[in-house]
Amino acid sequence: MPFNRSNHSKFLNPPILHDKLRIVKIKEIKSETPTIKSFTFVDEKCTETSPGQYVMVWIPGIDEIPMSLLRELNKNLMIAVKSIGGASAALHELKKGDVLGIRGPYGHGFTSITGNIMIVGGGIGIAPLVPLTKNLANPPTKITFILGATTHEELLFLDKIRMELSKNDGRIIVATEDGSFGFKGLATDPIEQLLKKQKFDMIFTCGPEKMMKKMFQLAEQYKTPIQASLERIMRCSIGLCGSCMIGKFRVCKDGPVFSSEQLREVKNEFGTFKRDFSGIKVKI
């Protein structure tokens, strides 16, 4: 007896990610802070990105690294890159008109919600929070945005955030480690007070993992749901190679944004250790 599934032929079409490397031209480069530059380009496939998603960026002949996507006007896309090592430093050397390879968008981004929202970003981690803020900043949603940086001039995208929040009565709190702007201290410092006083419907956070761990602990303590965007070593970014594991999760595909429930499942690893390129554990 022949065996026919109703969707037989459809079922057997070759599966394709349609995610080959695309080459894009850098339209604009801007120094956002002394260590961070932004790069603007156009890529059809990424115009539908949601906040928190990222692309793999190939610096031809050098390396390929994950970068969060920001959507700008006129289908322009932007990445903000902190120069920290080989690839990111090489990116900083590029000129307008040079090309990059792009694949993605990848990953599970932030899940939007309305209500009383806290957003906490540290350093380069502020980047993916900008498109998130843009999405959220519609009344009646109220946003309290806490930014942290080492020093005044390293504060990323303060103007962009101000602009988004000008649309509703959002609040911005800035902390710098050297006190050159806003509070002196860590972004997490003023937060406990806020959590004590108000009920937040969601906390969104991205930044150094220690900071995010602290935020997670506070969120748990004050029974507030949180979404945090994590980082691990990314190679394939399509959930295959296993380089990016935190507990049972693939940061590249199940994340990079994780919910309170998920973070609870990996609380032994989150903020404690990550893995290096060989897979060996390293302390955070």
């Binding site: 007896m1 065996f3 079922f11 057997l12 070759p14 599966p15 394709i16 990610l17 995610d19 080959k20 490397l21 080459i23 793999m56 190939w58 031809p60 002949g61 390396d63 390929e64 690294i65 690839a87 090309v99 390879g101 694949r103 190679r235 394939c236 970014s237 399509i238 959930g239 295959l240 190679c241 296993g242 380089s243 594991m245 507990g247 049972k248 693939r250 893995r275 290096d276 390129f277 060989s278 897979g279 060996i280 554990k281």
Partner: protein
């Protein structure tokens, strides 16, 4: 599906279903392997582990091609000592854990193999077939392959599988030589040696330039290898290469595979692919009136 038995025994390992995880995929950490087991895999194979930690190649380590993926990871792995605790976590998944191992010499293979046995591996899979690293081209020679098999077999009591490369003139020769040396099963195939050059920049895309091609594109090559080898050896053949739907899995079983492994399809279809393929095989057996998976293994040979 009353009465349909889709369990299978491979070299003494009892698998609840024939759909295994392929080596190198989600296989670096214990929790990752355990999750694949929980997703329904019949057995799980670890990332290929060597004697020392290896960082692998720089990115790009992967790029998509027509119906396929090209990868040159460069065998990143934490080294066998560090991997022991991962293996123990992997075993919590409740299915057989097969330790994929590689080495620069037969002695290295033997050492890593015996550590894996002690750590609780249910079987060893010798990766003598990675097409893009310096250390594991052994599988391109029947003699070197049988050397490694013999040496590893001496050191362990668990079954030893050999994973073969299609990048050879005569894969049947290598398979037979592995069988003679005592291999308990053949896994085939590893990736095809391949490459992609970016037209815009003129540069090879992978950092290592050359990599291995996997995915639906290579399925016909893999089916051919399984067909040819399973005709000539008496040990079980585990099929691998491009399996994405249950139909692909059945094709491999008909071609002579006793079990199959899934790699790239996880990227294309997610972890649910294990359960979907297992269910599909079951349904096929049942609709066709078979009662046992074994009835269809190698069925195509009789035509």
């Amino acid at each position: 599906m009353v009465g349909v038995n889709s369990t299978i025994e491979i070299a003494g390992l009892k698998l609840r279903n024939p759909v295994m995880l392929a080596a190198g995929v989600l296989g670096v950490t214990g929790f990752s392997l355990k999750r694949v087991a929980e997703a329904g895999a019949g057995a799980i194979v670890t990332k290929s582990i060597g004697i020392k930690p290896r960082d692998g190649y720089p990115n790009p380590t992967i790029t998509e091609t027509n119906c396929g993926l090209l990868n040159a990871m460069g065998l990143p792995n934490p080294g066998v000592e560090d991997f022991e605790c991962e293996l123990k976590i992997a075993k919590e998944g409740g299915v057989s854990v097969i330790a994929s191992i590689f080495g620069a010499s037969k002695e290295e293979f033997a050492y890593v193999g015996s550590v894996m046995e002690e750590a609780g591996a249910d079987a060893i899979e010798l990766n003598v077939s990675c097409p893009h690293t310096e250390v594991v081209a052994l599988g391109q020679s029947p003699d070197l392959t049988s050397d490694v098999v013999e040496t590893v077999k001496k050191g362990v009591d668990i079954p030893v599988f050999v994973k073969l490369t299609p990048n050879v003139t005569d894969i049947v020769l290598v398979a037979k030589s592995a069988e003679r040396a005592g291999a308990d099963a053949i896994t085939c195939i590893n990736t095809l040696r391949a490459m992609a050059v970016d037209v815009e920049t003129g540069k090879p895309i992978l950092a290592n330039k050359v990599g291995g091609l996997s995915g639906p594109a290579i399925k016909p090559v893999a089916v051919r290898c399984v067909f040819e080898i399973s005709k000539e050896v008496n040990i079980p053949v585990i099929g691998c290469g491009g399996i994405t739907y249950w139909q692909d899995a059945v094709e491999f079983l008909l071609a002579g595979a006793s079990a199959i492994q899934i790699g790239t399809a996880i990227a294309f279809r997610g972890l649910s692919v294990f359960k979907e393929i297992t269910d599909g095989i079951q349904e096929y057996l049942s609709k066709k009136g078979y009662r046992n998976l074994k009835e269809i293994v190698g069925l195509s040979h009789k035509f």
